[in-house]
């Protein structure tokens, strides 16, 4: 539906381009040299006048149309529906949408709902028709304006380039707006959360049980929101992951860059990097269905109690995921150590491993630390593996065989499923998100700084 309008608009713009070009030839009496710019710029100028204003109106319209229509429909509903509390009204609106869309509805539609649905459909048809008319007439108006403006002295190239320039600058600010959006959205909701739960309890509380806040009218419905067990669990799992990933990743990088033959390296390096390309949900599946039962079996056979969602399983698989991350970062760092260092060591009669251990690693240490910090930040923010393989209950333990939960797991569990948006339970997810964002941001900034300093040292 909207796609067709968009395509029509594109088609119209293409026509406008040709029209503009033709017009330029006409006003120049066929002497292109008289024109300020090349005819194609006059074409682009016309096309932009056709496309941009119409597109802006189009975008705004479809952003607001649905909300506007729903408001109108709700206003036209019988009072017993209209005056429902907001959450129930939401359900009604949802039913309405389903009814309009021809889907199944939760209950048999009553006449009021059917009437509302008809009202909705009617408004939508009118709205869409109005949209078509508005957008297309705007486009044509734009063409007319440009067509009249074209003259040999019109600086079409400069104007077109200015538009392109604005587009380029606007694009580059998206990154800023994204960061701003992240910060604002988590900070805003977190402030709401900290109005309900004191910040000190959140930061230092040892109890985490948001599930008690089931109903808004329940006494003591605030639950317990001490995030310490979550961060402890996150650290435990990330720690296990690093114990796996750092030695294997680092040793692989060393072996591949210092020992392996070029042929072996050409095969093994991309093969290891395959691990980096596998989606995390696949790791989660592997952890939950293969590794966790295996660990449990082994543990039980040794007479240990192992939880079926042990931190060890999640950490182990996360470690595997991070191996290529550590190894490729360390590889860069190790290769940045100048060959003259190695030569100096070999010339004194050092063996390869002595050179690596006593010269290369100390020289590369800052860079390696930086890469490990980046890897830690990755592990802390990793979601799918822990959602699928780690537990839900917040245990404060250092035993890797027990089930722990993590920050990301809690964010996911708190925000999936239906709940009111302003309950402390939902807001807690944003507070956790804020903490996660801050921690990973600090880690990243330190790591990038360390690595950059390190690179400059050898440049």
């Amino acid at each position: 539906m909207f796609i067709y309008l968009f395509l029509s608009l594109l088609l119209l713009s293409a026509g406008a381009y040709h029209l503009g070009r033709k017009r330029a030839f006409v006003v120049a009496n066929g002497h292109i040299r008289k024109l300020h710019s090349l005819p194609s710029f006059y074409g682009s100028y016309t096309a932009l006048w056709c496309f941009l204003p119409a597109l802006i109106v189009f975008g705004l319209w479809i952003t607001f149309q649905q909300g506007f229509i729903i408001d109108l429909v709700v206003a036209g509903m019988p009072p017993e529906l209209r005056n429902l509390p907001p959450d129930q009204l939401n359900l009604v609106v949802n039913d309405l949408k389903n009814l309009v869309g021809g889907n199944f509805v939760s209950s048999a539609p009553n006449p009021a709902m059917l009437a509302a649905a008809d009202h909705y459909r009617h408004l939508r048809t009118v709205g869409n028709a109005a949209l078509w008319v508005t957008v297309l007439s705007l486009a044509i108006l734009g063409v007319v304006h440009a067509w009249r403006a074209i003259s040999p002295t019109l600086r079409a190239r400069n104007r077109v380039e200015r538009v392109v320039n604005v587009f380029l600058i606007a694009s580059s600010t998206i990154a800023i707006f994204t960061t701003l959006g992240i910060v604002l959205s988590v900070v805003f909701e977190s402030i709401l959360f900290f109005q309900k739960v004191p910040i000190s309890e959140f930061l230092f509380g040892l109890q985490w049980s948001p599930q008690t806040a089931l109903r808004a009218d329940q006494t003591g419905s605030s639950g317990a929101f001490g995030s310490v067990p979550l961060f402890a669990g996150t650290l435990l799992i990330s720690g296990i992951a690093m114990v796996i990933a750092v030695p294997i990743g680092l040793m692989s990088a060393l072996f591949l860059s210092e020992y392996a033959t070029p042929k072996f390296r050409a095969v093994a390096k991309p093969a290891l990097e395959v691990l980096a390309g596998i989606p995390t949900v696949v790791y989660g599946f592997f952890a939950a269905l293969t590794v966790a039962p295996l660990i449990r079996e082994i543990g039980t056979s040794m007479g240990l109690h192992v939880a079926s969602e042990s931190a060890l399983a999640a950490g182990l698989v996360m470690g595997i995921m991070i191996i290529p991350f550590v190894s490729s970062l360390s590889d860069d760092v190790i290769n940045a150590v100048p060959q003259s260092m190695r030569d100096g060591s070999y010339a004194l009669g050092a063996t390869k491993s002595e050179t690596i251990k006593r010269v290369l690693l100390p020289a590369a240490l800052p860079g390696i630390v930086g890469s490990i910090l980046l890897a830690v930040s990755r592990a802390i923010g990793e979601t799918m593996i822990v959602v699928m393989a780690a537990g839900l209950s917040a245990n404060l333990t250092a035993n890797p065989l027990e089930a722990v939960t993590t920050v990301t797991v809690q964010i996911v569990t708190l925000l999936t499923g239906d709940q009111e948006f302003d309950s402390p339970k939902t807001l807690a997810a944003f507070a956790l998100g804020l903490m996660l964002f801050i921690v990973t941001l600090i880690l990243n900034i330190i790591a990038l700084q360390v690595v950059r300093k390190y690179r400059e040292q050898y440049e």
């Binding site: 990154a175 959205s185 390309g277 596998i278 949900v281 696949v282 599946f285 251990k357 923010g381």
Partner: protein, 436 residues
């Protein structure tokens, strides 16, 4: 300038014997270190093989599905009691009764409610739909009798694939002794067959494992990625061009750069929070829609494309720019005519890699509700949908063995897409690699 070295001179040692004495120990250490390295690499490679082996061995049986041949009599009394071929009546007829009758005809000896229910349980409830489709397409069938291959239930399928331990106690397995007996009879009579599993690719999600497919998720992924690409590619290229070719070196562009580098390392779930708070709660876009998923993923993919794009632009030598400016091109013409075409392969490579990552991403999509159980295949950008990795996540939670199999199969499809996309990126890079 004469120098007197204190005696006994510490430098006067017989280096040859000292070094010789230390050699065995040092060579042993050398070998050990080398071994550690080799073990580390082998472990890494072993994990790759183990994961692929594990998933393929679990998933490949899902590409075949068990069917049972049932003699169906298209009884006019059931389908069209009025005999006027009214489509409405044909649509709503009780086709499941035909299936049940067919089953009874194969095993006339079975009696009793429980027994019969067990018998009917051998075929999937999909059988009725299948018969309905056939009749609607060809009303001539009414009154005829045909041997029809009907989809077997998931338990029968699992049994046929050998994933149910027959020696287990009856109460501990999903399929009962009498059912196993019937299945064995059918198998002996050649009325059980494994066919290529088209349902996996042609239908949406379902609670019944044998009817569940990934088409819905695939279409969801397609719509989501289309949005992601349409947004992130032009914006990413524009940003890279601006920062590399036009931007003045000042605080503002420094800020943008720092921002982009940091965004590349922000956990994906935080982008999900952004999507939930901004796109859904603030702008009121629909939950579970590929549109929102695409928006969130494009914000995640942007840094990847920008970084790759800038790398591609810096690899274009300045001489090209000078040549273009030298003949009087404007800066934009220089970029548009010369620099961008040369950098495009590199940018495309980066974008494909970014898109492959977006294809595998699931965490942020959980936040914006693309995690619902959705049977219908989405038809537009605003229909409720899920994506392939999230479908995998949903299925992995289900206990049935048949779903484990399908999950692994879905993973294989996902990995195949990843391999194709990354392979494309590598080919593109190789093909257009340029040495200046």
């Amino acid at each position: 300038m004469n120098k007197v070295i204190s005696s006994p001179d510490p430098l006067q040692r017989n280096i040859k014997t000292i070094v010789n004495a230390s050699l065995p120990r040092r060579h042993a250490a050398e070998r050990r270190f080398r071994w550690y390295g080799l073990i580390a690499v082998s472990l890494g490679l072993a994990f790759v093989v183990l994961m692929f082996g594990n998933i393929i061995s679990k998933g490949y049986p899902a590409f075949w599905q068990t069917y049972i041949q049932v003699p169906i009599q298209f009884d006019p009394a059931v389908i069209d009691p009025q005999g006027n071929r009214d489509p409405q009546a044909l649509q709503s007829a009780d086709y499941a009764a035909l299936v049940r009758a067919g089953m009874r005809r194969m095993f006339p000896a079975v009696e009793g409610r429980l027994e019969l229910r067990a018998l009917y349980g051998l075929v999937s409830s999909d059988g009725a739909l299948e018969l309905q489709n056939r009749v609607l397409q060809n009303p001539e069938l009414i009154g005829a009798e045909q041997e029809i291959w009907l989809l077997a239930s998931a338990n029968v399928d699992t049994l046929i694939k050998g994933n149910i331990e027959r020696s287990l106690d009856e109460t501990e397995r999903p399929i009962k002794d009498n059912q196993i007996g019937w299945v064995d009879q059918l198998q002996a009579a050649g009325q059980i067959e494994k066919q290529f599993n088209t349902i996996l690719f042609s239908s949406g999600d379902s609670r019944e494992p044998e009817q569940a497919g990934i088409r819905g998720a695939l279409m969801g992924s397609f719509y989501t990625l289309l949005i992601t690409f349409l947004l992130s590619f032009p914006i990413g290229v524009a940003t890279a061009v601006y920062l590399e070719e036009f931007a003045p070196k000042n605080r503002w562009t420094d800020l943008i750069e720092v921002n982009i580098n940091n965004l590349a390392a922000v956990p994906s779930i935080v982008f999900g929070l952004l999507g939930l708070a901004v796109f859904i709660n603030f702008f009121g876009l629909p939950r579970s829609a590929p549109l929102v998923g695409g928006l969130v993923l494009s914000l995640m993919t942007l840094p990847v494309i920008i970084i790759a794009g800038r790398a591609a632009l810096t690899s274009v030598p300045p001489s090209i720019r000078e040549a273009a400016l030298g003949v009087g091109a404007s800066k934009l013409q220089m970029v548009g005519h010369h620099v961008l075409p040369l950098a495009m392969p590199g940018m495309l490579t980066g974008s494909i890699i970014g898109m492959a990552r977006a294809l595998g991403e699931s965490a942020p999509l959980l936040m914006i509700g693309m995690v619902a159980f959705i049977v219908d295949v989405p038809k537009s950008f605003t229909d409720p949908a899920t994506v392939l990795p999230v479908q995998i996540f949903l299925w992995s939670d289900l206990p049935e063995r048949a779903f484990v199999e399908r999950t692994s199969a879905a993973i294989m499809v996902l990995l195949a897409f990843m391999i194709v996309m990354n392979g494309l990126a590598i080919i593109l890079r190789k093909r257009f690699e340029r040495r200046w």
